[in-house]
């Protein structure tokens, strides 16, 4: 399968829901693109429609207007090409760590047992879960559970990884470790990543592009290209170009 640049294109997207027979717009005229092997961070205030946008791209909620095109194909409904990781309830508690990743791999393009086994082993190693593979999720910390969820989603070999505030519920130290993990995993994979986050510095640290959702209904009010993305792993001490982007985002959000 050939994967082009601009392989995710969101054009004029409007999404909403019915509330007592009245249609409420959540997103309106959203434009966004993501290249192959690129991280795009989506940032915005609480209730600005960030999760709604991810769910619409994942095909979990209907689109009112506009379109989402992935790898040249119009997105209709959910499919394994767009894997989603939630902040909470991210792992299946009735499966072990290995079972969770295996389930993802069995949903992938090549489900031959030897391929599934190799893929599971590879992901267990790359996410640092090898020694925990036979544990139940309830025996793991929040950070470890997020690793399992990310590994399971990657195991299904999606074209696009959708992360909905995956580190939102984690403590500061674990959050830093997860940011590093995402950066290291990202170097190994070919997928694009759409990352929803509240954390401006996190967005400036790991994303190639940062999109700000604002307004009611929300739209993409500005998109920043981050120079030298992932040149640091420390969100407390960003390189000057990334610091500038973070300051600009902060100023714009504060002015809303």
């Amino acid at each position: 399968m050939t994967r082009k640049n601009n392989f995710l294109e969101i054009q004029d997207l409007s999404v909403g829901y019915y509330e007592e027979d009245e249609y409420v717009d959540v997103l309106s005229k959203v434009y966004l693109s993501c290249n192959v092997h690129e991280i795009v961070a989506i940032i915005g205030k609480s209730g600005s429609g960030k999760t709604t946008l991810l769910k619409a791209i994942a095909g979990l909620i209907p689109i009112r207007d506009g379109k989402v095109i992935l790898d040249g194909k119009l997105v209709i409904g959910s499919a394994r090409e767009r894997g989603l990781v939630f902040q909470e309830y991210c792992v299946f508690p009735w499966l072990t760590v290995r079972g969770n990743i295996e389930l993802g791999s069995k949903c992938g393009a090549d489900t031959r047992p030897e391929v599934v086994k190799d893929e599971v082993e590879r992901l267990l190693k790359s996410t640092g879960l090898l020694e925990h593979q036979y544990k139940w999720p309830s025996q793991l910390s929040g950070g470890m559970q997020q690793r399992v969820a990310i590994a399971r989603t990657l195991a299904a070999d999606p074209l696009l990884l959708l992360l909905d505030e995956p580190f939102g519920a984690l403590d500061a130290i674990t959050r830093l470790q997860m940011q590093e993990l995402i950066q290291s995993i990202f170097e190994e994979i070919k997928q694009g990543i759409l990352l929803v986050t509240h954390d401006i510095r996190e967005a400036a640290l790991i994303a190639d592009k940062v999109a700000l959702l604002s307004g009611s209904p929300a739209t993409t009010s500005k998109v920043w290209n981050v120079p030298n993305p992932r040149s640091s792993t420390n969100p407390l001490k960003l390189p000057p170009e990334q610091e500038r982007v973070a300051t600009e985002i902060f100023t714009l959000i504060k002015a809303e």
Binding site: K55, A58, G59, L60, S78, A79, R80, R82, G83, L84, V85, F86, E88, Y89, C90, F92, P93, W94, L95, L103, G104, C107, W136, P137, S138, Q139, A149, R152, T153, A156, P158, L162
Partner: protein, 253 residues
């Protein structure tokens, strides 16, 4: 250690009930209210009697038939209601209607339609539990976080695969808990049926004792039913943990 402590609490609770019973029996001083001592004399006789167990087994078989039938039909019905709005709109109103009719009210109708044999008892247990099970199973499915299914859908799972790989395992521990709780209802409805007409079963023994006013034996039979209930409940709890081993480490279980 935990088991010993648990048994200790059960014994303490039983001693409290016996003390209250005995106190009331002594105050009323009525032959219809046997004292704990008189009950204690009859207890071993009933417990070592083979017939008690034959009647108990006959009752258990009927409960398993009626309740098993309920589960087998209620599970797919509740899954369909949970998944398909149109199906739930068609099915649930009639179920709601029947759910509110007390089971004893069905006894004459069932007796006329199915005779006065075991089939009627099985049908009564079914009526008493099936209509409740459907609603509780749906509630079990609804309380499962929707993120599980949403995540699975983005892995490409759909249709029947989504149901048996995600919907059922995600709700399994709750479904088994529901089965454990409603099993006690099935048992109650069997006794309702056996009280009306029976030639065997533990309810039949209770009615026989009542007819001859053998109150000591009647109370002992109630104790046997209670002990059986506690045993069953614990077996079902153990089965739940065995079937859902991930619950052992789950503090929210």
């Amino acid at each position: 250690m935990r088991i010993i402590r648990s048994i200790g609490w059960i014994i303490a609770s039983m001693i409290l009930v016996i003390a209250i019973w005995d106190g009331v029996a002594h105050i009323t001083n009525s032959p219809l209210m046997p004292t704990a001592r008189n009950i204690g004399k009859v207890l071993p006789k009933v417990i070592i009697n083979k017939d008690t167990y034959l009647h108990l087994i006959a009752s258990i078989i009927l409960v398993l038939k009626g309740f098993g039938l309920s589960i087998i039909i209620a599970l797919p019905t509740s899954i369909l209601c949970f998944r398909l709005k149109i199906y739930s709109r068609i099915v649930l109103p009639s179920h709601e209607f029947i759910r509110y009719i007390p089971v004893p009210a069905f006894v004459p109708l069932c007796a006329v339609l199915f005779g006065i044999g075991d089939l009627t008892k099985v049908i009564l247990i079914f009526i008493g539990t099936y209509f409740q099970l459907v609603f509780i199973f749906i509630s079990d499915f609804l309380t499962t976080p929707k993120e599980f299914e949403e995540s699975a859908r983005t892995l490409g799972l759909k249709g029947l695969k989504l149901i048996y790989k995600i919907t059922i395992p995600a709700s399994l521990s709750n479904l088994l808990n529901t089965v454990r709780i409603t099993f006690a209802w099935a048992w109650s409805y069997l006794l309702v049926a056996e009280v009306v007409n029976a030639t065997r079963g533990i309810g039949y023994l209770v009615i026989q004792s009542y007819r001859v006013l053998n109150m000591e034996r009647l109370v002992v039979l109630l104790i046997v039913i209670g002990i059986f209930g506690i045993l069953t409940d614990n077996i079902l709890k153990f089965a739940r943990i065995t079937i859902c081993p991930w619950l052992k480490n789950d503090k929210k279980k």
